[in-house]
Structures are given as structure tokens and as C-alpha cells.
């Protein structure tokens, strides 16, 4: 997969797709099928740095049955299907490869009634993450996974990427919050995976589906767990004169037996950028800041907040501040969550990495990350979910500079190697998509990958769902060139 470059326009979908398009129109109605260049160009990419996708006809189904009809029509024509939420994925999961039918779930946005006994609610996949939480708040609940992209990303995308967010430290990532799903399988059948009951019968196909990056079928209805709003919340901001001290504070907090709701670290460069952008009140002179939040009942939150403040001071914090009120707290979080938006002021392009290391290795690996960026002559910023050891080195660059993309790739490869060498993993929340397929064999043996391939094949024996993703070349569905409609020039 190449990094983004200028788009090459093509004119409409090819003539040979006319019969397919007629069936899609029959499935969802003419206004909900788009074949024009403008729409298709819009969906060639996601929020990742990768380009080269080629969308076939684009459908906007409004019901589960329409999704089913679309999948069946595509199948009759031997065409793959790629589900798409908001397109904020960072690993290229939603990039259409081989001119597949793109199924946008954006129009499936209804939210059911909250089942208070089960603390669950059925939602459609196109519901925007933050809209769900806004809907639930007045009822006393929220949806715990809160990716920084939550203002736009969809629950379907969260499910497919098993997304995380700052508050997943204590509450768990998306998989812990999905109880059941109705899924349109790649063959067009509808299956109920999981259940609202605690020990559903059969294999845990629900668990296997979450994180499947759109390659196992399309989630059309999702029963998510709703989490009660905590009565007490405390948010701390600790400043450090060295990044290492912030990282060590995180390890020491976990080692002390406290699992805060969230623990996020930002280094000086990103803190300054954020401060310029939103004026959240972050200190500009600190080498790193730690944003820690504890929530729950008053006694435990007070106890844990005090303990975190004490640990931070022991680790050399120059200042520890408690957010005075909800307004200050909201502002601090706004700063953290708009960090990526703030980058646009600094460099035209950025590449956000995503690896996980054991929490006790955070400080060491961060130092290596800075050294790697230096070695490749790149600027790096770090803003990350420190509590679970989830690093997000952000490489800034200008893609117009000759040779730059090679350096960015080389630095990324070194960061991955450093994370794996520390006992970490390739991805904590963005997924593999097209980004890290080539690294899968650095973490897994051929036998391990063979078994992952078997899991995939059981859901999608015909490679009809989002081919060309996750597993490296050589596995079924990885080599999209085998498909009749393969596009060229997709590979780096």
C-alpha cells in the first residue's frame, strides 16, 4: 500500500457493472446507490495515510434487510463488499480494494430503548459514538469506549476495530461492551451472535467478530452495554520536567494496585500545540503532562486521587493540580481529545502509530521512540493512553519532500521493532488493516497466522468481505490481485 498521493480520476463505474448496479438499486432504491466519481473518490480512503483504494458502487442501506439484499446482490456478481462507518479508521480498514461494493452504514442510526435490567441497548451501526453517550447521559448511563474520534466515529466502526479510548483503562475496550449483534454474514445470511444472557450457548462468535475489521461480515444491530454515570469524578493534571518521570508515574500507579478510569500522557510538543489550539490551561514549560482521572464513589475516588498525586510527586512531578470543577475538567479533556486536530498547525502530514508495551517498559520505549525519530530526521510527538501501555507516536512530515515517505516508513518499522522487543504488540486499538499486515509475522508464527486465517475463513469462505486486509500475503483473502476486479498499484 502506498502513502497518499494525488488522486487519479476515473469516470463512473465501468459498463460491466450495469447489471450489478441495477440489482443494488432494486435492493435499496436509486437514491441510495451512488456510482459517480465524486462519491466514489470520497470513499477511496479513510483517515489513515494510505491511498490507492478503488470504490465500486456505493450503497446507503437503511435497514438490516437492505444490507442483506446488497450483500446478496454483490455475491451474485462475485463482488466483494466493504462496510464503512465514518471512515476515521487509521489502519486503512475501510479502504476499498479491488472495486468492491462499498456499504455505508451512515444512514442506520436508530437507538432502541434502554433495557435497564440488562443495562443494555440495541443500536444500529451508524450511530455516532458520542451521539449514543449524549442520548444515554440523561438516563443515567453512557457508552464507556470513548475514542478521541468519538464525535464522528460509529459504533459499527468501534465494533469492527475493537476500539479503545482514554476511559477504557478501567472499563475495558469495545469488546467488553458488546453483548450481542445481528450480523449479515458474507454469504448474505443473518446471524445473531452472542446474547443479552451471561453465558450464551455455542461458540463465542460475538467475541471473534469484534475486531474483525469488516472482514467477517457486517454488524447491522448491536446490543451494547450501558455504564452508569459515576457520581464522583476527580481529574488530575501532573507536570513533569522529564517524559521518563511521567511514564514512571503511570507504571507506579498501576503497580500500587490502582486502576484509574484514565491515564493519558502528552509530551511538551503536543501540549504546546494543544494549548495553542484550545487554550485548555495546560502548562507550556513541562516536558510532559499526565492527565489522570478516577471515578466511582466519593471515598474511593478521593483515596485514589490522593494516592496518584503522592506517587506523581514521588516520581518528580513539578506540579499536581486537581481540576476545580466540571468546566475545567471538560476543558482538559477537550485538549486531550483534539490533540490530532492541533497537529494540522504544525506540519502538513502526520502518521499516527499505535503499539502497546508492558506498562513498566513505557519510559524505556519512549526514549527509544525519540531516538528513532532523531535518527531518521523526523519530528515526533507523543500523546497516548499511558495507563494500558498504548503508545501513539505521531510522526510529523511534509510528504512533498523527496524521500520523506521512505524515512517515515523506516521510522515506523523501527518503532514497531522496539515495541515488540519490549514484549509488546503491533496494535492496541487501530487494528492491522493494510497498515501492519507485513509485520504480522514479527509477532506470530506461521501456525498462529494459519489459525487466524481459519477463523476468518469460517466466517467468509469465499473472501467476499473486505478482502486484502489484516492477514499478510499468502493467506486466503490477502492477495486481492486474485480477484477479477483487482485494481493495480495498491502495494508499496
Amino acid at each position: 500500500m502506498r502513502l497518499a498521493s494525488r488522486t487519479r480520476p476515473r469516470r463512473g463505474v465501468p459498463e460491466r457493472d450495469a447489471a450489478l448496479v441495477r440489482e443494488l438499486v432494486a435492493a435499496v432504491g436509486a437514491p441510495n446507490v451512488r456510482t459517480d466519481d465524486a462519491q466514489r473518490a470520497l470513499l477511496r480512503r479513510d483517515a489513515s495515510v494510505f491511498d490507492g483504494g478503488d470504490a465500486g458502487p456505493v450503497c446507503f442501506p437503511r435497514t438490516a434487510e437492505e444490507v442483506q439484499a446488497v450483500v446478496r446482490a454483490a455475491r451474485r456478481h462475485g463482488r466483494a463488499v466493504v462496510p464503512r462507518g465514518a471512515g476515521t479508521g487509521l489502519a486503512g480498514g475501510a479502504i476499498p480494494l479491488g472495486a468492491p461494493v462499498v456499504v455505508s452504514l451512515a444512514r442506520m442510526t436508530s437507538i432502541g430503548e434502554v433495557d435497564r435490567d440488562a443495562r443494555a441497548v440495541w443500536v444500529e451501526p451508524g450511530v455516532v459514538n458520542l451521539d449514543l453517550t449524549r442520548h444515554l447521559r440523561p438516563l443515567g448511563f453512557h457508552f464507556a469506549p470513548d475514542p478521541s474520534s468519538q464525535q464522528v466515529c460509529t459504533i459499527g466502526g468501534n465494533v469492527a476495530n475493537n476500539s479503545g479510548g482514554p476511559h477504557c483503562l478501567a472499563y475495558g475496550v469495545t469488546n467488553a461492551h458488546v453483548l450481542a449483534m445481528d450480523v449479515v454474514l458474507p454469504d448474505g445470511e443473518m446471524a445473531r451472535l452472542g446474547g443479552l444472557d451471561p453465558e450464551p450457548s455455542g461458540l463465542d462468535l460475538r467475541g471473534a467478530f469484534v475486531g474483525g475489521e469488516g472482514t467477517l461480515g457486517i454488524a447491522v444491530r448491536i446490543a451494547v452495554r450501558v455504564t452508569p454515570n459515576p457520581p464522583a469524578v476527580r481529574t488530575l493534571l501532573a507536570s513533569f520536567s522529564q517524559v521518563r518521570d511521567a511514564a514512571n508515574t503511570v507504571s507506579a500507579v498501576i503497580a500500587s494496585g490502582i486502576v484509574p478510569a484514565a491515564m493519558e500522557v502528552m509530551d511538551q510538543r503536543i501540549t504546546r500545540a494543544v494549548e495553542n489550539y484550545v487554550g485548555a490551561g495546560y502548562p507550556l514549560d513541562a516536558a510532559a503532562v499526565l492527565l489522570a482521572e478516577v471515578d466511582g464513589l466519593p471515598d474511593g475516588t478521593a483515596h485514589d486521587a490522593d494516592a496518584i498525586a503522592r506517587i506523581a510527586r514521588e516520581q518528580g512531578a513539578t506540579e499536581v493540580r486537581l481540576a476545580a470543577d466540571d468546566r475545567e475538567r471538560a476543558l482538559l479533556w477537550k485538549g486531550r481529545k483534539t490533540a490530532f486536530g492541533a497537529i494540522a498547525q504544525i506540519a502538513p502530514d502526520y502518521y499516527l502509530h499505535d503499539t502497546v508495551v508492558p506498562r513498566s517498559r513505557l519510559a524505556d520505549v519512549l526514549e527509544q521512540v525519540y531516538a528513532i525519530a532523531d535518527r531518521h530526521g523526523l519530528m515526533v510527538m507523543n500523546v497516548f493512553h499511558a495507563g494500558d501501555g498504548n503508545l501513539h507516536p505521531l510522526l510529523l512530515f511534509d510528504a512533498r519532500e523527496p524521500g520523506m515517505l521512505d524515512r517515515v516508513h523506516a521510522a515506523g518499522a523501527d518503532i514497531i521493532e522496539a515495541s515488540l522487543a519490549a514484549g509488546g504488540v503491533l496494535s492496541g486499538e487501530h487494528g492491522i488493516g493494510v497498515e501492519k499486515q507485513a509485520y504480522m509475522d514479527r509477532m506470530f508464527t506461521p501456525d498462529d497466522l494459519d489459525h487466524q486465517n481459519r477463523l476468518r475463513r469460517a466466517f467468509d469462505p469465499e473472501c467476499a468481505a473486505n478482502p486484502g486486509k489484516v492477514l499478510p500475503t499468502g493467506h486466503s483473502c490477502a492477495d486481492i490481485q486474485q480477484l477479477s476486479s483487482a485494481a493495480r498499484g495498491l502495494w508499496v
Partner: protein, 306 residues
């Protein structure tokens, strides 16, 4: 130091894989605490035991790597020595057996689900190879989720050899209260994150855990709903597990102990089968063919009969 660094490859894993081999029907024997869940293995099947013992424990990372043949009791006492615990059910048996069956702890509301606690699995495939799925860190989305697939699969897709589990600190205070005549659903609504709310149709038992002041405050909340007495633990539990949608608890009759908010119900008679739909069974059948085409792993057992 992460788990990978702390781990030397256990020789007994390889020996276990060799013992499983590639031929003939084979079933894993743990402590037989859940021997007939999902059907008993066919008569005459060769029985093997998974390696036991804790391979590595990093309390400061809140992860433990343990042989699947280790008893839950042994693991729990190792974790307790560092003030930690895990989501495995307290009912006993081996770690591998508990994960293969996929039962939740009675305190699932407080401890989290078993399936969410399994970070990495190593298992022996039908052709006698050691396969790894998942990863050693607390957060990981690298590739397809084999740990979730193996949890609750009754050893029909692979035989668990070693797992990495997430651990958690033991809360500072813990108390069981019985409230007679309370509306258990109102109690569940009024409390924040109780570890368990049990109901037998007349009395409600509530397990509160956390910081001492919070536990006391929650106990006071409960006592405003009904008179409470401190008790040693849950009531005696009938032997058979039922898995119901939590709202279905409202309509139960006869003798039962039901877990409010989760839908786990314990009764004297076994739950009738509740097979998944045809399309899911189709995927499950393909899964079985992919992972164990000759059906040699735990023959006689079927997760859809669980």
C-alpha cells in the same frame, strides 16, 4: 519487564503437544468439576492433562501466565499473596477447564467477564502443534481474536496449554448483606457497581466491594430500601446454571437463585437447550471443520449444547 521477557519456554508445553499428537480422539481431563457440560467425551477416548503451575506472574503489570492444568485454587492463592485476584469462577477445577467452559464468576459485575480477562492463549491444535493467539499486554487488537474463540469452546477447537490472564487488585473492603423483602431490581438500580445482587424470589443478597467508606455508604443506601443483615456470603446455590436475559428473571417461579443484572440463574433442574440460530450454527460448523476436521478434539462435546 513484560511477560515475554519473564517467560522461558516451558518444556512441558512441548511435551503436552507431543502427547496430544496428531492422531486419534483425545480429551483433556481437568478436575472433572464440569465434566458433562455440553456432553461427555465419547467412551474410550484417550485422556490427557494440560501442564500445571504458574509460568510467570507480574503483579505490577496485573498479568499472570499460567499452565491450563493449574487449579483455580492454586492460581487464586498465588494471586492473593500479592493482593490480587482474577475473573475465573470460584467453583474450582482447572484454569483451562474453567476457560473452556466459559462460566462467569458469581461476582461477575465486580470482577468483569471471564472472556474479557483472557489476554493470550496457547493451545495444541488438532495436528499437535502449539498455537498462540492474542498477546501478553492488557490492550491488543493485533489480528483475529483467537482467545475469545477458545473461551467457551469446550476444547473442541484446540486444547488449552497455557494462558495469560488479566489480574485485578482485591478491593479493600467486602461485605455480603441480606435484605429481606427488598425489590432486588430497585436495589440493583440504586447501587453503583455492586459485585453481585442475588435473589431467590423472597430475599436479596448483595455483595459490596470497594473502599471501606464507599462500601459503608452503599450499605446505607441498601438499608433505606429494606432492612439488611450482614451475612457470610451468598445463599446455598442450586446445582444447575441457567443463562437468561436479565429481564426474564422477573418471571421466574419455583426454587432458584438469580443474579440480577446478569441473568445467571441457579436451579435444581438443567436448562433446556437453547441452540443458536441456523446461520451461527453454520459458522460454528465451518469453524469446527477449519480447526479440527476429523473431530478428534474432545469428541462428544458441543458448545451449542452448553
Amino acid at each position: 519487564m513484560g511477560l515475554t521477557g519473564a517467560l522461558a519456554e516451558r518444556r512441558d508445553l512441548v511435551a503436552f503437544a507431543d502427547e496430544v499428537g496428531a492422531d486419534g480422539p483425545v480429551a483433556v481431563e481437568g478436575s472433572r468439576t464440569r465434566w458433562s457440560v455440553g456432553g461427555e467425551p465419547i467412551p474410550g477416548v484417550r485422556l490427557v492433562r494440560a501442564p500445571s503451575g504458574v509460568s510467570a506472574y507480574l503483579p505490577e503489570e496485573m498479568v499472570v501466565c499460567v499452565g491450563a492444568g493449574t487449579t483455580v485454587a492454586e492460581l487464586s492463592s498465588v494471586l492473593a499473596s500479592s493482593g490480587q485476584r482474577c475473573a475465573l469462577p470460584a467453583r474450582g477445577g482447572t484454569v483451562g477447564g474453567a476457560i473452556a467452559v466459559g462460566e462467569q464468576h458469581l461476582d461477575v459485575l465486580g470482577r468483569g467477564t471471564l472472556r474479557a480477562s483472557v489476554l493470550e492463549v496457547r493451545y495444541v491444535s488438532c495436528d499437535g502443534r502449539l498455537v498462540r493467539g492474542g498477546g501478553p499486554t492488557v490492550k491488543n487488537v493485533t489480528g483475529y481474536d483467537l482467545p475469545r474463540l477458545m473461551t467457551g469452546a469446550l476444547g473442541t477447537l484446540g486444547l488449552l496449554a497455557e494462558v495469560i490472564l488479566r489480574t485485578n487488585p482485591v478491593p479493600a473492603a467486602s461485605t455480603w448483606l441480606r435484605a429481606d423483602g427488598a425489590d432486588p431490581f430497585a436495589a440493583f438500580d440504586a447501587l453503583l457497581h455492586p459485585s453481585a445482587v442475588l435473589w431467590d424470589g423472597a430475599s436479596t443478597w448483595v455483595h459490596l466491594e470497594g473502599h471501606p467508606g464507599d462500601v459503608a455508604a452503599q450499605a446505607a443506601v441498601l438499608s433505606r430500601i429494606a432492612a439488611t443483615t450482614e451475612v457470610d456470603g451468598p445463599p446455598p446455590l442450586p446445582p444447575h446454571r441457567w443463562s437468561l436475559e436479565p429481564s426474564a428473571i422477573r418471571g421466574l417461579t419455583g426454587r432458584y437463585v438469580a443474579s440480577v443484572g446478569t441473568g445467571l440463574v441457579l436451579r435444581d433442574e438443567p436448562q433446556p437447550l437453547r441452540p443458536p440460530d441456523a446461520a451461527s450454527l453454520g459458522v460454528a460448523a465451518r469453524m469446527k471443520r477449519e480447526f479440527d476436521p476429523t473431530g478428534r478434539l474432545n469428541p462428544g462435546r458441543d458448545p451449542a449444547r452448553r
